[in-house]
């Protein structure tokens, strides 16, 4: 079921990192030369559709298993052993068991998905993920009738994940989706960025990406996937039920108690950039709004 969704963003440049920066500088120089103003800044509408560069994506991470600072994960995630790695698929499935990530990868079609990524802290990036649809992995295990939810769990290994030595959250990190959300073509298990294996600070070797929900739903370094008929607990909801709901869909009209969700800061746009308006369902309204028809999204936030 690969390629059920077509990228709306383009990656003009096939080569990441430095090359990418050069291109931006180059475009900026031309624009400045022609006198277009705003040159080089990502503030112009066209430019916001370009993915963030490798450095931005891999140096500004929320991955509390390695510390609460944004630079803690790139600093400390090196200690994580990601091979061998298997994902325990259990609960209401026909073929439960430990699935080795290499075996999973060999069965899957890896494609590129360039998605908006919106953190609940009101910042955003555009990330060119590589991965496969979660639906394909679930099909591999065989979802049984009656399953309604999918629960996910991150590795718990405080020897290597030093943030887990502190009670910031109730470890291990857990997340969940409704089954129809999990089966949606936009929902992927990401295995890389810019064609490279997933960096450890971004959730190696395999993580969930649900682009219309706040970033914390996209659980990293997954070791367990459980099919169930009950709404599973989720870490941030347990930590602050009045702040984080089960759904956590990106919604500019429903405020978080700490951050207004109406606008967002685009990472990489610099000290003097203006905030961008946040889009309903992070810009994926057309694709996913039907999943929530008839639901009061202010109540089910």
């Amino acid at each position: 079921m690969a390629y059920r969704w077509k990228n709306t963003f383009t990656r003009a440049d096939a080569t990441p990192e430095a090359h990418f920066l050069n291109r931006r500088a180059f475009v900026g120089a031309i624009a400045a030369g022609v006198g277009l103003g705003m040159a080089g800044s990502r503030a112009s509408a066209q430019d916001t559709l370009k993915p963030n560069d490798w450095d931005e994506i891999t140096n500004y991470c929320n991955f509390y298993e390695f510390g609460t600072g944004k630079e803690d994960p790139p600093r400390y995630a090196k200690a994580l052993t990601t091979s061998p790695w298997s994902i325990e698929v259990d609960g209401m499935v026909d073929r439960p068991g430990a699935y080795d990530v290499n075996d999973i990868m060999s069965e899957m079609t890896i494609e590129e998905r360039i998605y908006r990524f919106r953190c609940v802290e009101a910042w955003s990036m555009i990330i060119p993920w590589n991965g496969f649809e979660l639906a394909d992995l679930l099909a591999m295990a065989g979802v049984q009738d009656g399953a309604k939810y999918v629960a996910f769990e991150t590795l718990y290994r405080p020897e290597e994940m030093i943030g887990q030595r502190y009670p910031v959250l109730d470890w291990p990190y857990v997340e969940g989706l409704r089954l129809d959300e999990a089966l949606h073509p936009l929902t992927i298990m990401a295995t890389g960025i810019y064609g490279k294996p997933m960096p450890k600070q971004n959730g190696a070797p395999m993580r969930l990406v649900v682009p219309w929900k706040y970033g914390f739903k996209s659980i990293k370094s997954v070791v367990r996937i459980t099919l169930t008929d009950k709404e599973p607990p989720t870490s941030w909801n347990r930590a602050g039920p009045q702040e984080y709901g089960f759904y956590s869909n990106v919604n500019p009209n429903v405020d978080h108690p700490r951050w207004s969700q109406a606008t967002e800061r685009v990472i990489g746009s610099g000290l003097f950039a203006s905030r961008q308006p946040t889009l309903m369902f992070n810009g994926y309204q057309e694709e996913v709004a039907s999943l929530y028809e008839g639901m009061d999204l202010a109540k089910h936030f």
Binding site: Y60, L169, L271, F272
Partner: protein
């Protein structure tokens, strides 16, 4: 007290006497433009706005705590840094002001939302109350006010205690989950405030 601790205290006091106050102003002020420069040139990472907000906020908090240390240092250890107290207090306020400035002009930007945020977000409300309490202190941190206000000046400057507690609380509230760093700051502030007051006949009085 043993001879050696006296020796250290004496040496510190002697050293402090030789340092001009303007030097303290200067040294404490330096990080502000430097951090701003770093933020503008990518030195504070890919999200410079909140990075700068955090840097200024944390420096403000550290200076508030440093200011609260000065009286106990003299009272309990005999270390006399009183002549720097005003400089540290004024610079703490300057960093709070810079912190607020980043929030207003670089972070929120939208004037309609600023008021909404102050009213609706408890950690902002608390930070703002802390700031407002500090304003009269900054304004009266000069010899003229000291003379004019007389004994009232001391009363007025008691406001630094609630302001510091609110600042610590603001920090604890804005971090997600249970985090140790802000709790250590708040604990330090509560301890420093605590040692300044005594319960006498059911009333709180200055120690």
């Amino acid at each position: 007290m043993t001879g050696s601790t006296l020796g250290i205290v004496d040496r510190v006091n002697l050293f402090a006497r030789r340092i001009p106050v303007w030097l303290v102003y200067g040294l404490v002020a330096l990080p502000a433009p430097y951090l701003f420069y770093l933020a503008a040139t990518g030195g504070l990472g890919v999200e410079p706005i909140s990075a700068l907000e955090h840097e200024y906020g944390e420096l403000a908090l550290k200076l508030l705590i440093a200011g609260l240390c000065i009286t106990p240092l003299r009272r309990f250890l005999g270390v006399n840094l009183m002549k720097f107290r005003r400089a540290i207090g004024v610079m703490a306020f300057a960093y709070v002001f810079a912190h607020l400035g980043v929030w207003l002009f670089l972070d929120v930007q939208d004037w309609g939302r600023i008021w909404a945020d102050i009213v609706k977000r408890p950690y902002i409300t608390i930070g703002m109350v802390g700031f407002v309490l500090l304003v009269p202190l900054a304004v009266t941190s000069n010899n003229l006010s000291l003379r004019w206000l007389g004994p009232l000046w001391r009363k007025l400057h008691l406001l630094v205690f609630p302001a510091a507690i609110l600042a610590g609380l603001h920090f604890v509230m804005l971090r997600k989950g249970v985090q140790i760093e802000p709790l250590l700051y708040l604990g330090t502030i509560l301890a420093l405030v605590g040692i300044r007051f005594r319960l006498r006949d059911g009333k709180i009085v200055r120690a």
